[in-house]
Amino acid sequence: MKDFKQEKTRVDQADRTIYDVKDKLDPAFLMDSGITPEIVNQISKEKNEPEWMRLFRLKSLKLYNEIPIPSWGPSLDELNMDQIVTYVRPKSTMKAKWSDVPDDIKDTFERLGIPKAERKSLAGVGAQYDSEVVYHNVRAEVASKGVVYTDIESALTGPYSEMIRKHFMKLVPPSDHKFAALHGAVWSGGSFVYVPAGVSVEIPLQSYFRLNAPGAGQFEHTLIIVEEGAYLHFIEGCSAPRYYVANLHAGCVELYVGKNARLRYSTIENWSKNMYNLNTKRASVEEGGTVEWISGSFGSHISYLYPMSILKGKKARMEFTGITFAGEGQNLDTGAKVLHAAPDTTSHISTKSISRDGGNSTFRSLVTVTEKAQGSKSAVSCESLMLDSISRSDTIPVMDISCNQADIGHEAKIGRISESAIFYLMSRGLSEDDARALIVGGFAEPIAKELPLEYAVEMNNLIHLEMKGSIG
């Protein structure tokens, strides 16, 4: 007798050691744990910041101490803020050439494949190591078009200081939530991009962020201004080695998309699995402009991530394409927010999530359509895949509609890999593990195809790593 009852294959924790490269800690400057006005003043002084920024930081710190932690979302109980060193500056200072970057830092980047990517097709790389920008390079051809791509600290004191003052944390005010306030107080490092009107940046600009010091937080700020009729694709890639102390990432991304401009912002996040990723991203879009978000969340212990688009001009558009993969020990709360505040605006949110090995993924969204947004359209679709019964997958969307001349659609689906699809693939010779990995890869394909090739490959590798079985 033969019992053909399907045996559920247990898939072991993927070998992540290649992503967990750790260097010897050798900081030039290590701050006391905990955050006080003195620390904030010190940060500001170290950076030779203008006075308004110092005051801004102090105001933010006050808010940080007043605002409670969120009453919703994954638990932050184990996040001990006092233990997190907020500011770790490596020995190296600004470098213009790759060959000048210290060897141990370079070594880590190399193992993550960064220099290779840089040499091949990057327009410029601002790779953030710990909290300081250590490497920066903008290709001459991009700069010649008047495109500014620099670290935000030097921009703060340079010719663009007024522009930064006008935009810095105006989209994400420190009062927005506790971690925005924290960011306002201790932010450090990040990128500033300015694309003048009518300029189309053909090659994507890329930036890598990672954390290295145990217990170090990372609070980089990204500010991008794309003027009327201009185009930019910005890619943010994140990866960090694993440590045993809770790590916090509370970055902030502010995107200003001008009239008829288009900005595509892609992210693959692969933080180590003890990271708290509390990142705030927001875009404002003027008339006829478009913001496109591509977002892949693979790493971190806990994530709160909901890029928001404010469609403030007539016919402004947003598209959000996201994938979240939650494995063992992960609680990834991700999604998107959109505010339709002008007529004939359009939003399209499409997400996929995968939960396995006890991982917990939550899709959370908010679509708000104000009275002024006549003729607007919004479509949300989210699909979740459960790979076993010890994991969780929740869908928590909110639609807040105050406009009678709008079309709003929402679709959510949750399910598992169909056994008959697995059998079909196995009947063509694939092992069960490979069949599952192929189906999950296919599930993620609509996101992968939105990414530049090297990132799509990286994402596929990540999925296969997570799913064990390797395919040709």
């Binding site: 919703w72 019964s389 929740d394 709008a406 929402h410």
Partner: protein
């Protein structure tokens, strides 16, 4: 107090205001006297008897509006109606509560103890009006193995009254519970229903139709909790918002561990007839089980221009075409409402109110 009523099972951003009951829909601030717990004395078809006391396992079933509302109604109930159902009944039990200035507060506690294999339809009708009037009903259903319970709840209050309707249903093996709601009246109307699909093959169907205009505030919290294998939930809501009315619908499908091979579907269509109405929809799918299928769909917005054009091309006026499309949305719910004269009454109310709003759409 509002943080304890109609709680979203998993909270989200507080700024959205959907985590709890809309503050404006709280019970009116007035004196509430202890009730008499007066048992139902109306007609009961053969096969149904009244229970003097409610067994603890039924009294402990939480309604969809939460524990606070359970207590608020049960403790000081003015009326009680604890039905024990045996066998299959073709005749419905129809219970009407009417508010007036002499009786501005009614708290009614219903229970349906459905023995295995039994079958019953209960119709609850709430009417009348009173200044700061309040009707609260708590209905607790224990649908045991293979029983079928259909609860039709019709709310036709006037515009000065406040309505609270909370239902909790335990659905046993092979049992089926249907809840059919038409929510039309009240200055504010809050509803919550919770189905606990505990037994294998249990089936839950919920159909809601609402029509809000003027300054009406509606607030729903509907939950289907799957714990048994091969259970099914279907929750469908169709509504129209006019005037400066506002509405929150929380609909949750919750697949808990053990609910393998269960299916849950939820959908809502909302028609906004006025630029000042506000709609909030919060459709949750919570999932802790692998082998399940959950789906949600919502369409919010205006009339479909192509449908209007098609109907007009057949000779209907624009107003007639719109009325036809609105009624078409309600039909799947209305068709389930018995008796027939009640269905006609609701249809007339909807038509009359649509006539008032044609101009602002």
């Amino acid at each position: 107090m509002n943080t304890q009523i109609n709680r979203l099972p998993v909270p989200t951003w507080n700024r959205t205001g959907v985590n709890w009951l809309d503050k404006k829909a709280l019970p009116p601030d007035r004196e509430y006297l202890p009730g008499d717990h007066l048992p139902y004395d109306g007609f009961l078809p053969h096969g149904i008897s009244l229970m003097d006391d409610l067994p603890e396992e039924i009294a402990s079933i939480p309604g969809g509006m939460g524990e606070w509302m359970n207590e608020f109604i049960r403790k000081d109930a003015d009326k009680t109606c604890y039905l024990l159902v045996d066998g299959s009944l073709s005749e419905p039990v129809i219970i009407t509560q009417t508010l007036d200035s002499a009786k501005p507060v009614i708290r009614a506690h219903y229970a349906i103890n459905a023995n295995p294999g039994s079958n019953l339809t209960v119709v609850q009708i709430n009417r009348g009006d009173a200044k700061d009037g309040m009707i609260g009903s708590l209905t607790q259903i224990d649908a045991q193995e293979n029983s079928v319970i259909r609860l039709i709840s019709i709310q036709l209050l006037g515009q000065n009254s406040h309505s609270f309707d909370t239902v909790g249903a335990r659905i046993g093996k092979g049992a089926r519970v249907e809840i059919i709601r038409a929510v039309l009246g009240g200055k504010t109307a809050a509803c919550g229903s919770a189905a606990y699909l505990e037994g294998q093959g249990g089936d839950y169907q919920q159909d809601t139709a609402y029509f809000a205009d003027k300054e009406q505030i509606f607030d729903f919290n509907d939950i289907a909790r799957h714990t048994g294998r091969e259970t099914v939930s279907e929750m469908h809501t169709a509504g129209v918002l006019a005037g400066t009315s506002s509405k929150i619908l929380r609909g949750t499908i919750d697949f808990q561990a053990g609910s393998a091979h269960s299916v849950g579907h939820e959908n809502e269509t909302v028609l906004l007839l006025s630029p000042s109405a506000r709609n909030r929809t919060v459709p949750l799918i919570l999932c802790g089980e692998e082998a399940v299928e959950g789906q949600h769909a919502a369409t919010l917005g205006q009339f479909d221009e192509k449908q209007l054009y098609y109907l007009c091309s057949r000779g209907l006026s624009l107003a007639e075409a719109k009325r036809m499309l609105v009624e078409a949305r309600f039909m799947p719910v209305l068709n389930k409402i018995t008796p027939d004269d009640l269905r006609m009454e609701i249809l007339n109310v909807i038509e009359r109110r649509l006539d008032e709003h044609e101009c602002d759409s």
